[in-house]
């Protein structure tokens, strides 16, 4: 019988981490209602700006990298031939 996997990699723990993480994100967004940022450009002081901006720009970078990868990726022994 294989030994019990580390507690951190058990499906139950992973589910718990997802729930905890999302709850934490929700709290962070909610806390945004109680701060008063000194907005210089306007939009960056709106409620939840850093949350959606962080998610959207990261998604754009991942997708952008993926597209670039189709053009520029080669096998890792490319230069050895």
């Amino acid at each position: 019988m294989s030994p019990e996997p580390h507690w951190l990699v058990r499906p139950k723990s992973i589910r718990l981490l997802w729930v905890g993480g999302i709850a934490l994100l929700a709290v962070l967004v909610a806390m945004g209602a109680f701060i008063h940022p000194h907005a210089i450009f306007g939009i960056e002081g709106t409620f939840g700006f850093n949350a959606w901006y962080g998610f959207a720009t990261c998604a754009a970078m991942v997708v952008g990298a993926k597209v670039l990868g189709w053009v520029l990726k080669r096998k890792d022994d490319y230069y050895e031939h």
Binding site: P5, H6, L8, V9, G21, I22, L24, L25, L28, V29, M31, G32, F34, I35, H36, P37, H38, I40, F41, E44, G48, F49, N50, A51, W52, Y53, G54, F55, T57, C58, A59, M61, V62, V63, G64, A65, K66, L68, G69, L72, K73, R74, K75, D76, Y78, Y79
Partner: protein, 561 residues
């Protein structure tokens, strides 16, 4: 010469040369003591020009101390000490002495008061860093080192041409703030930017650094790009061209790191990303921005070294560097995992780490200068740092799928070096005042406001969410990503090969035609002059005699008739 005027860079280089012939315990003691002793010398020296040397009609100032130079000399020496501790059990004899010459060169650049002294130390760094690469002594590192040194010698030639033109135009060798408005200053700027890893020459860095030994890459990450940041802060503050160059570097680093499979190449790309923040700050040019660039160089050296020490420990224990071969190491390397995570949080500017108190000064400077597109770019890039280095590196190396590898944490000296650097990352994050006091301009900045902390946590938290939601798009593959080095690694050799082949073919065809023509000529000569040729027949002399007799006969008959 009093101790006040001793060039600290040369002191460390001298210690490195002694180190090269030492063995055993004495060597280990000198490795740890030399950088700290030189650090004490730097801090005992008063500010001002401390040494003057006459050279070809110019007065050189090899040692000139001020807050900016001392800040960089300090971090270079701390790095040499920490790297030395990490590399204490390195069995390649040349690596640490070469790394100390390299660090001495960096200290020399940071304290050089004139362009000629600066150039000398600059080139010492190029040669010594190549030796650090070479000390791995395998085919890949030898080839990469040869490409590396060629790029840096080219950069050195451009820099020297710029210095010569600048000195010729101004009559002064002093290293002071310049503007890119003449051939000389442009060439100097380009020479500096090549070492910073700026486009289109970024590829030298991820090509070369990850080929060094487990400890060599730790040293390499610290000096070349950060001396470039230092000379840009002193030489080109507020040069606007640096803003788009820096922004290009931050996104280049993120995108290439996202596509990369080798853990040390991921971290190499993220050096360019981080230097991009500094270069952008230098381009903004306000006191806040320059302080931010200098502070970020300081904190970056520590957390990047820490990240590469964690990666180096994994390489040391497993011999592997590809994410596709790694994973699950947290189970048997808990300390390395923890230190790697601290480094990853610091590079991501997580509150209560060093990156938070330094990088946010650059963003704040962009906002204060009302540079909207720069601020939005830097904010997106801050989220992207968490994505490509802050989560990607620890996730794929220490967590993700279980590779089944169960390596132990590395030996005590490597663990101690990581713990010290991790403590510095957190210490500077919690008590930024000590770092702020070392900066070149007075600091009027409070990083820890409720708004700033919550905004940063939101940005990083949702960047993390994006990472795990989009994880299927980031599946690791056994691939590399083409870069501008393709021009000299593939296109150049292919072109030379094709031209060579064309010359050989043309030569062969021409020779063939000449040989055919010669053969035909010989055939003709043979036909007329050969053994049976018209002019070689012995029959013809007999015929000639008979003809003569006949003609004479006819002549006689005609004459006497």
């Amino acid at each position: 010469m009093s101790i006040d005027a001793l060039p600290p860079g040369l002191l460390l280089i001298t210690a490195a040369l002694v180190l090269a012939v030492l063995k055993g315990a004495a060597r280990k003691v000198l490795v740890l003591a030399a950088p700290l002793a030189v650090l004490a010398v730097v801090w005992s020296q008063p500010e001002g020009a401390l040494l003057h040397v006459s050279f070809i009609g110019h007065t050189l100032v090899p040692v000139k101390v001020d807050a900016l130079g001392r800040l960089f000399a300090t971090i270079f020496l701390l790095m040499a000490a920490g790297g030395g501790l990490f590399a204490l059990n390195q069995d390649r004899p040349a690596e640490v002495p070469a790394a100390f010459v390299y660090a001495g060169g960096a200290v020399g650049v940071a304290l050089a008061g004139d362009l000629i002294s600066l150039f000398v130390f600059w080139e010492i760094m190029a040669i010594a860093s190549t030796l650090v690469l070479w000390s791995r002594d395998d085919d890949a590192s030898r080839a990469a080192a040869s490409r590396y040194v060629q790029v840096h010698l080219l950069g050195g030639v451009v820099l020297l041409a710029g210095i010569a033109a600048h000195v010729n135009a101004t009559g002064s060798v002093a290293f002071t703030a310049m503007k890119p408005d003449s051939f000389g200053t442009w060439a100097i700027l380009i020479g500096f930017l090549i070492n910073a890893g700026a486009p289109p020459f970024s590829a030298w860095l991820p090509d070369a650094y990850p080929t060094a030994t487990y400890s060599g890459t730790v040293f390499l990450s610290a000096f070349t790009t950060k001396t470039a940041v230092y000379v840009l802060i002193r030489g080109f503050p507020g040069a606007e061209i640096l803003i788009p160059v820096g922004l290009w570097m931050v996104f280049y680093g993120i995108v290439y790191a996202l596509l990369e499979n080798d853990m040390r190449r991921i971290l190499a790309y993220s050096i360019i990303n981080q230097v991009g923040f500094m270069v952008t700050g230098i381009g903004i040019g306000s006191e806040m921005a320059l302080n931010g660039a200098a502070a970020h160089a300081f904190t970056h050296i520590i957390y990047k070294a820490l990240l590469l020490m964690a990666a180096g420990s994994v390489l040391y224990r497993t011999g592997k560097t590809k994410c596709t071969d790694l994973g699950g190491l947290f189970q048997s390397m808990p300390l390395t995992t923890l230190c790697g995570i601290v480094g990853a949080l610091a590079i991501s500017s997580f509150p209560w780490t060093s990156g938070f108190v330094s990088k946010s000064m650059v963003s704040q400077a962009a906002a204060d200068s009302h540079l909207a597109w720069v601020w939005f770019g830097l904010t997106a890039a801050s989220a992207g740092v968490f994505l490509h280095a802050g989560i990607k590196f620890p996730w794929f190396v220490f967590f993700q799928k279980d590779s089944g590898l169960r390596p132990a944490d590395p030996p005590w000296n490597m663990k101690l070096a990581m713990v010290i650097f991790a403590a510095l990352c957190i210490g500077i994050g919690l008590f930024p005042g000590a770092l702020y006091a070392l900066l070149p301009h007075a600091v009027d900045y409070q990083p820890y406001t409720a708004a700033h902390v919550i905004e940063m946590l939101q940005l990083l938290g949702f960047s993390g969410l994006a990472f795990f939601v989009l994880l299927p798009l980031m599946k690791r593959t056994l691939t590399i990503t083409l870069d501008t080095d393709w021009l000299y690694r593939r296109l150049g050799p292919d072109l030379v090969g094709a031209i060579g082949k064309a010359v050989v073919n043309a030569d062969r065809a021409l020779r063939g035609r000449v040989m055919t023509a010669l053969a035909r000529l010989l055939e003709g000569v043979k036909a007329t002059h050969g053994r049976h040729g018209l002019f070689a027949r012995d029959l013809s002399s007999g015929a000639m005699a008979w003809t003569t007799v006949a003609v004479l006969g006819l002549f006689l008959a005609a004459f006497y008739s």
